[in-house]
């Protein structure tokens, strides 16, 4: 009886076995890496806005405080976006004819609000509250990154549940004195470990209660 398989079939079989293994491995690697990549999480991906607002210019170069525009951040769940009027407090005097700002002027004139595209968002069933994080010494840049280096704003962290929980389980590495939370490029002092330990008790932070589901989901 003649051979069913030629000699080269061994090579083909080996190739198929290894290729399958490699493809599986690749799929696993992609499966792990893709959901964590900026492509899916949006991290580092600048979003096109109706007005190419630059945090780099306003915060980094001009030194505006975060709260000038995001004025609900200390009192409300929502940090808030500036009303058109807030933009126009300066831009009625500066760059009054800049083409870039035409939509802002049009908004004020027509009464139709600007429609900004969301950069940072969590799903509807997540009840995130800005004010409590500010009060407990979690800085803006801890979650939003160094926006003063962003010409166009991009998401700095994935904001997925695992990322939130990392800090809710062990907030200490992310704390700083509450008066410093609005600072950018904050340099921790040398005795930061001691400060953070004392902050936990001074600010009455109870990490053991911070992973209860209803803290974020209601």
């Amino acid at each position: 009886m003649p051979q069913v398989f030629s000699k080269s079939a061994n090579g083909v079989a080996r190739f198929v076995v290894w290729a399958t293994c490699a493809a599986l491995l690749l799929a696993i690697v992609i499966g792990i890496a893709l959901p964590r990549s900026g492509f899916v999480t949006g991290v580092g991906q600048a979003v096109a806005q109706p007005v190419p607002f630059s945090h780099k210019h306003h915060v980094g170069q001009l030194g505006l405080d975060c709260r000038y525009c995001h004025n609900g951040v200390e009192t409300s769940s929502s940090a808030g976006l500036p009303a058109t009027e807030v933009c126009m407090t300066c831009h009625s005097q500066l760059f009054t004819n800049a083409d870039m700002l035409a939509p802002v002027r049009a908004s004020l004139a027509s009464g139709h609000p600007l429609e900004w595209q969301r950069v940072n968002s969590v799903p509807d069933f997540v009840y995130f509250n800005h004010s409590i994080h500010i009060a407990k010494g979690v800085a803006c840049e801890t979650c939003h990154g160094e926006v003063d280096d962003m010409p166009l704003t991009a998401r700095a962290h994935s904001l997925n549940m695992g990322w939130c929980l990392d800090c809710h389980r062990d907030p200490q590495p992310n704390l700083r004195p509450p008066q410093d939370v609005f600072l950018m490029h904050w340099k921790p002092p040398d005795d930061i470990a001691r400060i953070r330990r004392s902050l936990i008790s001074l600010l009455d932070i109870h990490p053991e209660t911070m992973t209860d589901c209803y803290v974020c989901h209601r």
Binding site: V47, G72, P113, L114, F125, S131, H206, V215
Partner: protein, 992 residues
């Protein structure tokens, strides 16, 4: 398949058997079906959600199976696809508005024309929740179910959105054009031939405007149509005092109360305040505490009768005889006619009333005859309680009218009126059946209608103009005690509606009038500071009417007792507690809110006593024909223990033919049987049993906790002898558990519910629905036992079938420390939190329903369907009513009471920002906040001084089914009735 159609009927001979069974001491029962162990009852006991199989065809063929599977596969994994959307900030941010922080505004909601103060929560200009206004005398911080639903009716997509000319949409400008023509015609003729038909209102601004209209058009007629009006009180007052005065009761001063068919806890503009005062005198915590005592004689079961210590059911036509007997006894006259009330009962009552003296109070039912009112007034005068427990005030700002709807009809018939402007009322639906309003209105040259809905009258009118909702209007109103308050808008009119003030101004020829300016003009005595304060506080200070001193005419002012000799049945008309005259019929929250005593939803039934049903050989749902005069209607019956014999209770408000929600409901229209002379009570009706049955949907069998000591109760004397009566004869709570103890180092939230204070008014259930975005499911789903209310009020009977005692028990989630639900969840979707809540994680829930199966209290609810749309375009305007701080749940998810965890979180975050502890009383749950009687206490039981700890340390505090070792955080204070020991010796049950 309906829930009722497959019921094994109570054998008709069975009522006698049930009576037998109950006399041998079956303690607590929910319904006749329970005692009879009918299939209907057992179905709901054996499976909490019995009808899952109903959804599928009886034999699932392969094709259907594939279809069902395919659908579930294709739906799997479609969740959590959310795209980044846009954020839209303000152009000009209003001062003080911080997005994400709710704001609260005081306003006034109307109840039969009278004002009840409210504080409305608004999220970025969107009103979502009504609370009571603690500063307003008619609310005192409490609300009722109807007030809760105000936000729902505001966003009702069925509301009228455009003016209609001859039923076709038209422009508001055209409407004003025709109004201008009308105004100039009226100016020419002095108002000849024109009439305005108004609803009940106490608005001082409306009164001023109507008086101005009268001055401007001297021949204009003003009529008033208010289908729920009761005039007998004013008649009696005229006869006795020579002027129409209104009583204001002071239950806080009353020791002994006698209700002559008065439902003062459930009806009337002062009900919330009365309930608060009444229950405050029934808070017994220690053996030395005292209680008031309530005797009630009533012609239909009400929540007041359920709260009474001694209750007698009487035919409505017999109430006069009881009043006459009381008058005779108190007047020391020999009572010639044999009393229809047990002499011992009457003797005990009069002795108690006399002993209480100035602290006694006799309350007549507002719908009762002038004679009953006069007897009650005279009794109060003889007891010396006038000025103490009852005061009289001038009727607050009532618009002077030239007559009622009947007067208007006769004016149209004799052609003295050819133009009618209907303001708010819907006479084509609510007119008495002997008035041919439809034909008479057809003869009119011009019929204008102004109202919230395109209702029967609107569609018949030449012109209809949409009204603004209360939450969109500037107006003013007076409370039951005369206190004035301002109605301020929470939102611009959604559908361009106008207020009644703008329409009245247009009638007088002013088309640019602004409601705010008109109201401000009425209150010009208030300077700007005082005006802003009145707006902020929700009351105009010192505006309550002063009590008027009275002098009584002798001999009841000539009012006579008219014994009724008619054969046949008495009919007792009642307004549906939630839908009233049908004006709220399109509010699904109210349709689906179980009626306090019958637990009926999405429909009404003719209520009847077991003995009458037995005589007619009828069972629940059996259809009867009720004939009265020239009209008759068919209605299903509902056997109601404690109902007087030979009497049928018919409720108004159902049978609407218009409205997408209203038409879903079953039920009959009782207005078709109502005649002008007999608004509330009619005698001599003929009742004939018909073939067939109709679907009557009740929730009384749902979520039953069978045959255990669920309600524990005693008399006041019993409590004094044995304060720990709740521990008697019940299994002890085990002290050990298989499960490890939790540590509650921070707060430990807990609730105590005082069963002596609960009057079963259902305000808490409605408040919970509003606060927690609880879906309504509609009549068919309710019949399957799928209603979603997180909090239910169980109603129990105890004692004989004809004269049972009634008990109410609110049952929210118990938040067990050893929760049976937590250990059976395969996906950890129900978890214990550090402060002792059983949290439900919707996103983890895969819908096995094991938790519900394992819950001994049956407090979990499952979303069998997508009851609320997530598509913002499809969901319509009613999605705006949702509380933004609570997740809207989707299909396949279990849900339950969370102790209002969003409120706990909000207060905790605030306290943490301020770096302090949460203060006792800071966290208030929605049910607690709405409760008129403060029956619910909530707080942190780790704080020794907390109110909830004090409540729980009362000797009669007990947990439901504690023998199961679930260690509930919600506990109850046993029910204590202040029964008269003399009546107890006579053989009346005291322990119930």
């Amino acid at each position: 398949m309906s829930a009722i159609a497959d019921i094994r009927p109570i054998p008709t001979a069975g009522i006698a058997a049930l009576r037998e069974q109950l006399s041998s001491g079956h303690d607590m029962w929910r319904s006749l079906d329970e005692i009879a162990r009918t299939a209907e009852f057992l179905r709901f006991v054996e499976a909490e959600f019995p009808a899952l199989a109903d959804r599928l065809p009886s034999r699932l063929d392969r094709r259907t199976m594939l279809k069902v599977m395919g659908a579930s596969l294709s739906l799997a994994g479609l969740t959590a696809c959310s795209k980044a959307r846009s954020i839209v900030p303000y152009v000009r941010q209003p001062e003080n508005v911080v997005p994400g922080k709710p704001r609260y505004y005081a306003t006034t909601l109307s109840s039969d024309g009278f004002g009840i103060g409210a504080v409305v929560e608004s999220h970025e200009g969107r009103p979502t929740k009504v609370e009571g206004n603690p500063d307003h005398p008619a609310s005192r911080g409490a609300t009722d179910a109807i007030m809760q639903a105000a936000v729902l009716t505001l966003f009702d997509p069925d509301r009228s959105r455009t003016p209609l000319k001859d039923g076709e949409p038209a422009a508001y400008g055209d409407f004003l054009g025709d109004m201008a023509a009308l105004a100039s015609r009226l100016a020419g003729s002095g108002g000849l031939g024109a009439a305005v038909l108004m609803e009940a209102t106490t608005s001082p601004t409306a009164k001023v405007q109507v008086e101005a209209l009268r001055a401007q058009y001297p021949r204009l007629k003003i009529f008033r149509h208010d289908p729920l009006a009761t005039t007998a009180g004013a008649q009696a007052s005229m006869a006795l005092f020579g002027k129409a005065l209104m009583p204001v009761y002071r239950f806080d001063r009353a020791e002994t109360i006698f209700s002559l068919d008065a439902d003062f806890l459930g009806e009337g503009p002062g009900r919330l305040a009365y309930a608060r005062d009444f229950a405050a005198r029934r808070r017994v915590r220690a053996p030395n505490d005292s209680m008031n005592r309530l005797y009630a004689v009533e012609s239909t079961p009400t929540i007041t009768g359920a709260a009474a210590d001694h209750r007698l059911a009487m035919r409505p036509s017999e109430i006069e005889a009881v009043a006459a007997a009381l008058d005779a006894v108190l007047g020391d006259q020999a009572n010639s006619t044999p009393s229809i009330v047990d002499p011992a009962w009457m003797a005990a009552l009069t002795q108690d009333l006399r002993a209480a003296g100035a602290k006694a109070l006799v309350v007549p039912g507002s719908h009762q005859s002038a004679f009953v009112h006069a007897c009650a007034l005279a009794a109060n005068a003889k007891l010396g309680s006038v000025g103490s427990t009852v005061e009289f005030i001038e009727s607050p700002d009532e618009v002077r009218s030239d007559g009622d709807l009947a007067a208007l009809c006769s004016a149209i018939a004799d052609h003295s009126v050819d133009t009618v402007v209907v303001l708010g009322a819907n006479p084509l639906h609510t007119a008495p059946s002997d008035l041919d309003v439809h034909n008479l209105f057809s003869e009119l040259k011009l019929l204008l209608h102004f109202g919230l809905y395109r209702d029967e009258t609107a569609l018949h009118a030449h012109w209809h103009a949409p009204a603004a909702h209360e939450l969109e209007s500037w107006s003013d109103s007076r409370a039951y005690d005369g206190t004035a308050s301002i109605v301020q808008p929470l939102i611009e009119p959604l559908f361009g509606g106008k207020t009644i003030h703008e329409i009245l101004a247009a009638l007088s020829g002013r088309f640019d009038a602004d409601a705010l300016a008109l109201v401000r003009q009425t209150w010009k005595a208030l300077d700007d500071t005082a005006w802003r304060k009145a707006l902020r506080d929700g009351v105009v200070p010192d505006s309550a009417s002063k009590p008027v001193p009275i002098t009584m005419a002798p001999d009841l002012g000539g009012l006579q007792h008219h014994p009724v000799t008619a054969n046949g049945f008495d009919i007792r008309f009642v307004a549906d507690p939630w839908l009233r005259d049908g004006r709220y019929a399109n509010a699904s929250w109210l349709q689906e809110l179980p009626r306090p005593l019958t637990k009926l939803v999405w429909g009404n039934a003719a209520l009847m006593s077991p003995a009458s049903a037995e005589r007619l050989k009828l069972e629940n749902g059996g259809i009867i024909n009720i004939a009265q005069g020239t009209s008759n209607i068919d209605a299903p019956i509902w056997i109601t223990p404690g109902h007087p014999d030979d009497t049928v209770t018919l409720s108004l408000g159902f049978g609407r033919k218009i409205g997408s929600v209203a038409t879903l409901a079953h039920g009959y229209d009782a207005f078709r049987l109502r005649t002008s002379g007999a608004n509330w009570v009619a005698a001599g009706a003929t009742i004939v049993a018909r073939e067939g049955k109709a679907e009557v949907i009740t929730t009384q069998h749902h979520q039953a906790m069978e045959g255990r000591a669920i309600i524990r109760h005693t008399s006041l004397d019993g409590f004094r002898e044995n304060p720990g009566f709740v521990r008697e004869g019940v299994p002890r709570m085990p002290t050990e558990s298989l499960y490890p103890d939790w540590n509650y180092d921070e707060e430990a939230w807990a609730m105590a519910i005082d069963l002596s204070a609960c009057i079963g008014c259902m305000a808490c259930v409605s408040a919970c629905q509003s606060e927690n975005n609880i879906a309504t499911v509609g009549p068919d789903e309710c019949a399957r036992g799928h209603e979603m209310h997180w909090l239910r009020i169980d109603r129990y009977y105890s004692g004989p079938i004809d004269t049972p005692d009634l008990f109410f028990q609110p049952v929210p989630c118990m938040h067990c420390e050893k929760a049976p639900c937590e250990v059976v969840c395969p996906v950890n979707a129900t978890v214990h939190t550090h402060d002792g809540l059983n949290a439900q994680v919707y996103n983890r829930c895969i819908g096995t329903r094991y938790c519900s199966q394992n819950c001994p209290y049956k407090v979990r609810r499952f979303n069998f369907l997508d009851h609320q749309s997530f598509d913002k375009d499809e969901a319509g305007p009613e999605q705006a009513v949702h509380n933004p701080n609570v997740t809207v749940r989707s299909r396949g998810v279990m849900e339950k009471c969370t102790y209002c965890v969003q409120r706990i979180s909000a207060r905790r975050i605030q306290a943490q920002i301020e770096n302090r502890d949460i203060v006792d009383g800071e966290v208030v749950t929605a049910c607690q906040q709405a409760c008129p009687t403060r029956a619910i206490t909530f707080g942190d039981q780790n704080k020794r001084a907390a109110k909830v700890v004090q409540e729980k340390s009362a000797p009669h505090n007990y947990a439901l089914l504690e023998e199961l070792n679930t260690r509930p955080r919600t506990t109850y204070l046993g029910k204590i009735r202040n029964s008269n020991p003399k009546l107890a010796q006579l053989g009346e049950k005291t322990d119930g």
